[in-house]
Symmetry: C2
Subunit: 696 residues, 2 copies
């Protein structure tokens, strides 16, 4: 299960207010309001020109790239008045190319050999390199409304040394200016072909020297034009170029985002999916992509609409670039994008998970810690889970007690870990629905929750419920002999909240022939690509702990900005009562070991494994958080991520093998895992050195 | 250059004394004595039976595996009296197989299916599992003379679960017993086929629980018999099995060594070379390998002799295993091995490097720190270097001054960084040899060395030498105008002790047409496989520094237990005076950048890059520490190793690409490096965050 405390999110450029809360609202207005807007849109279709929607100024979705603008301040103000939340401005005038004396010495021979670009670079320019119109924009506007554009002529990895050195000097100067005027983000082109070592070095060096360096939005085309003739497939895959930059810049990953340039020809679904696992901060939409609808307004093709809908799941912004190609005016690009955004579909799971996207939460320690009331409250709102339990109990009662004995037989139900009582309530309803007579014991170790249970047993449930304020593992056989155990002890990875140990500990209180709801549960693992989750993991680093601790701790994550490289496979299954149990009803051991091999279905980077579970409650009733088989509206669990010490590149078709152990000691349970293919990595969390789930 | 302080070495089993010093002597008696012994052996050839050599009891070279021994104490004493330094004893009697109740439950069905091995395991044994004869061996003997053998039936990664669980329980018990009786090392078989995950987990868990755990000598065959029919080449390569274990056990690498079992059919040179890059602690020699010479004594084939000679370069021991197959008696195996060892060749470089093999030293900080007298003294003993400088100066003088002007022209030589004066001395000799008149300025910033220089200039060099006690970069043009600069400012990687910056700083004191000795120098890099160096690097971890610091600091290493995966390639070249210098004689920049691509010539693991240099002093005189071109007896430099953040598996034929930068700031110089292929790693030492060479 997941923790229910809020998480801070990065503030989008151009949000109406400086506070993170307001910013989050700015990106995504209340789902309820959105939905009605979407419905309205759907029935009418987009015709454009709906001026009443222009005023949606709280939304920081859409910015505009001002390419050729003689007066930047005027341009910025106009864009803002047209509904754009931010503008992208060049930092330096292309006229003002920097030259430092040291950089040009000794290349006279080479210079003669090269042509056009060469002469251009050779024209020495004098400072000031920045634009005079920069000086009239005030600091707050820079920070709130402007993304700086690094000069496009800069080629840090040019094979011509003079250009390389000059580019590096210019990049330093432009970045320094961007930091000086307080920009939040800069747009920089990723050079074609993936030669990025010197660019990476320059970014690292700059971020080392400058504590308030702007974020780098790295502009990458979604698909490359044919670049190299060298037969090297890598040189034609922009995602690989981006991946190289990420690996080289590992220590400033948090400073890098993708500004993904949408191309007219879209790549295949796998290539799109791969970008959805990268930290895309902005989609760059050239105006040339827009068609004109019957009314003369700019609209996108169906394929491009579908693409945008996929990316709207991420917390990103949109940049319109290129000259206005539609008579109605430049503001209608923005308006169309906002209209599209309002039509995106949302569901209960994603609205419940809002604010938690791709953020890491430590898994609960259900035995060592007591849950807070607010946490109980969130989980009790899950519409699917409690309906499922009610139906499972009903089916069990009907199957256990024939109609003929419905009046005579009293069925004892023990709710183990009753919390504030939601399962007790469902059991009572199931009893009524089934027409069977039941008696319910509510066993709960959390003294605070017991207070609630006792109150409810007096007021809501007189005579039908007995509250036993104890750890279920401390029950005596004489306390109760139940026909049905009902428990909700499962974690995101099934057994990871120690359901096996808890239920085993109470097994002597289950009558002969009794059943447990859930009857069984199985954990699943799938290899996962998510640069964003990896970045978040590296942010967990704690200098007071060993270097590996944060790299081998499982995290609960609402996975959005990620993809699976192969479908999940089952890991460990537990059944209650155990199939091969000893005389005390306990199984020989709850330790487990398995090796799983996957065939990578796409090329990507392996950042870890995503863990899921499904569970058979009773009869036909089950619960699942598997992506392909998710129970509708079940929002109590996010996946559990097992990270790896470092990212491992994986090619489509590669074997991915992982070994996974569940280890039980006298005081704790933990997992250990090791990647065995395509490369062997150290055993993670060996001996539970980084993470355990404590039994007491 | 390397530091000259001693390094502690691991103590071999069976050494005569507990102190590390005595142990080092035990492993390798003085080279001088060895050589005479070797000569004697060479002239006579080995005939066996030379009883007078039996008494070489200070040598801890050779142990014996006592496989079937009813009384272990008596066996141990007899082996010792026959000249064996240690014995390998089974820890548990094979009769006493451990069974724990939990491990055998529920497998009745499976048990019926399996045959022979199965029934054997099924026979329950009672404790005590240890041998009664263990109890009469005292603690000191265990520690000094015994290597414990883990039971061969243990198969931690059996695909049959009961055997796996039972094996894990038994391994825990045997390791625990080994720690209890104080063993220094245990021999354990590496299972065929490379399924080692559970073995790895068990070793990690044991070392986590047991602070004085014995070293694990993992017994691996040098070459596999045909194991799998599955076409998987990995399953037939024992080195890959070992590599898997190493990666899984990354955190206890220091606890693992190889006991390499020499096979009758030897693998090819590449496979042997690969083992020479692994921490081989013992060679296991079956008695079946030995032939019988004309006198009836056991000897090895030429091929096996050559193999042993290669491995004797490592600090290893030998284990004789198998029954005695020669009438003369078991002691003659030991005697033959010791005789072979005494014949191994040694040279000045390796004797000067003794005790430093594969240990890491921080490079000198020649400008920030002053060298100590002892350090000067070691380097002054280098026979090649000073002869080379003398000859270079002689050639320069002869070329600069025609015979006709020999009497009239006075040549000014500036020795820059004169230290205690060895180059001054060589210049004076070169002057006499060439018949040219010279005047020598000795420039030295180290005040302590200046004391020595002043004394020598008064006593040894009256009237011919002027001592200038200053940093060469502080010289004024009026101090001197030299015809010849002579300096020895090179590090293991050429420019890494800032020779470029120092000489540039003095360039205004070089007369028009003057020359520098050295005239030029070039650094080289080669991809390197060395599990031992990697292990040593991980031991540098300092919890008070960031996790990456020790992983991206260059180290000076006497590389022995290592191999190059491809030949070295040139990196950066510096010439003095610089070819394209400014009006002040300084070059535009001493920053450098290069990308190098290698083609791996063998399969292995890339642990880092080994750095070398060569230098042209003058005319035909040069100096090189490149492995294939090493100047004879030049021992002043060990290679400089640039480590990587983690080991990267490399296949024969793979491209290995590395980017290397030399970065110069106002106060320091440093290198940054990044692996670009076969995988991309983060830029190491970005911004000099982990290591700089300080200019002041």
């Amino acid at each position: 299960k997941r923790d229910c405390n809020g998480a801070d999110k990065e503030e989008p450029i151009g949000s109406a207010s400086g506070s993170a809360t307001a910013a989050a609202e700015a990106v995504a207005v209340e789902p309820a309001k959105e939905d009605s807007a979407a419905d309205a849109g759907k029935s009418s279709g987009y015709s454009g020109g709906n001026r009443s929607k222009r005023g949606n100024s709280g939304r920081a979705l859409c910015g505009i790239d001002l390419a050729f603008c003689s007066d930047q301040k005027a341009g910025m103000l106009e864009a803002h008045s047209l509904g754009y939340a931010f503008v992208c401005l060049p930092l330096f005038h292309p006229r003002n190319v920097v030259r430092t004396g040291a950089d040009v010495g000794g290349h006279a021979d080479q210079e003669e050999e090269e042509g056009q670009r060469h002469r251009q670079l050779d024209q020495l320019r004098l400072l000031p390199a920045t634009r005079p119109d920069h000086l009239v924009i005030d600091s707050e506007d820079w920070t709130r409304f402007v993304v700086g554009k690094i000069s496009a002529w800069i080629r840090c990895d040019s094979s011509w040394e003079a250009e390389r050195l000059q580019s590096l000097a210019a990049l330093r100067q432009e970045l320094s200016w961007a930091a000086h005027i307080g920009l939040v983000a800069c747009l920089i082109d990723l050079p074609d072909g993936g030669r990025v070592s010197n660019l990476a070095r320059a970014l690292l060096a700059f971020h080392r020297a400058e504590r308030s360096a702007p974020l780098m939005w790295v502009r990458v085309p979604m698909a490359a034009e044919q670049v190299g003739d060298d037969g090297d497939i890598a040189s034609n895959d922009p995602w690989l170029w981006w991946h190289r930059l990420c690996r080289l810049c590992d220590l400033i990953l948090g400073q890098l985002g993708v500004a993904l340039e949408v191309t007219a020809d879209l790549p295949g679904p796998a290539a799109v999916q791969r970008w959805l696992a990268e930290p895309v901060k902005a989609l760059v939409l050239p105006t040339s992509l827009f068609l004109t609808n019957q009314s003369g307004y700019p609209v996108l093709s169906k394929a491009h609409q579908a693409l945008l809908m996929k990316f709207f799941r991420l917390q990103l912004q949109v940049i319109i670039t290129g000259s206005c190609r539609h008579e109605k005016g430049i503001e209608y690009y923005q308006q169309y994008i906002n209209w599209l955004y309002s039509r995106r579909s949302t569901d209960l799971y994603s609205s419940q998970g809002k604010g938690y996207e791709d953020t890491l939460q430590d898994p609960l320690q259900p035995l060592a810690d007591n849950l807070h009331s607010a946490t109980y409250q969130v989980f009790e709102m899950d519409p699917y889970k409690y309906r499922a339990y009610r139906e499972a109990v009903r089916q069990a009662l009907v199957e256990m007690v024939p109609d003929s004995e419905a009046e005579s037989r009293l069925v004892t139900i023990a709710v183990l870990g009753a919390g504030r009582g939601p399962l007790v309530q469902e059991c009572l309803i199931a009893g009524r629905q089934s027409g069977r007579r039941i008696r319910v014991f509510a066993v709960e170790k959390n003294g605070n929750a017991v207070n609630t249970l006792l109150n409810r047993s007096l007021s809501e449930w007189p005579d039908s419920v007995v509250v036993l304020p104890t750890d279920m593992r401390q029950l005596k056989p004489t306390d109760l002999q139940a026909d049905i155990f009902v428990s909700e002890l499962l974690g995101s990875f099934g057994d990871n909240e120690l359901s096996p140990e808890c239920l085993d500990g109470a097994m002597h209180c289950l009558a002969e022939g009794g059943v447990s709801i859930p009857m069984s549960y199985t954990s699943y693992l799938a290899p996962m690509h998510s640069s964003t989750v990896y970045k978040e993991v590296t942010r967990q680093r704690d200098p007071e702990k060993p270097y590996y601790t944060f790299l081998e701790t499982p995290y609960v994550v609402n996975l959005v900005n990620s993809e699976l490289l192969a479908p999940p496979q089952p890991v460990f299954t537990f059944r209650h009562p155990a199939e091969s149990a000893g005389p005390d009803g306990r199984p020989a051991s709850n330790e487990r070991y398995i090796e799983l091999t996957y065939r990578a279905e796409r090329t990507g980077v392996l950042h870890g494994f995503a863990g899921y579970f499904d569970s058979r409650l009773y009869g036909s009733v089950s619960m699942s958080i598997l992506p392909e088989d998710h129970s509708p509206d079940l929002f109590s669990w996010f996946p559990l991520v097992f990270p790896l010490h470092y990212p491992v590149p994986v090619k489509c078709g590669d074997a991915i093998t992982v070994a996974m152990w569940r280890v039980v000691s006298a005081t704790a349970v933990w997992y250990e895992w090791a990647l065995l293919a395509p490369v062997v990595l150290p055993i993670h969390n060996a001996g539970g050195r980084s993470f355990t789930i404590n039994l007491y």
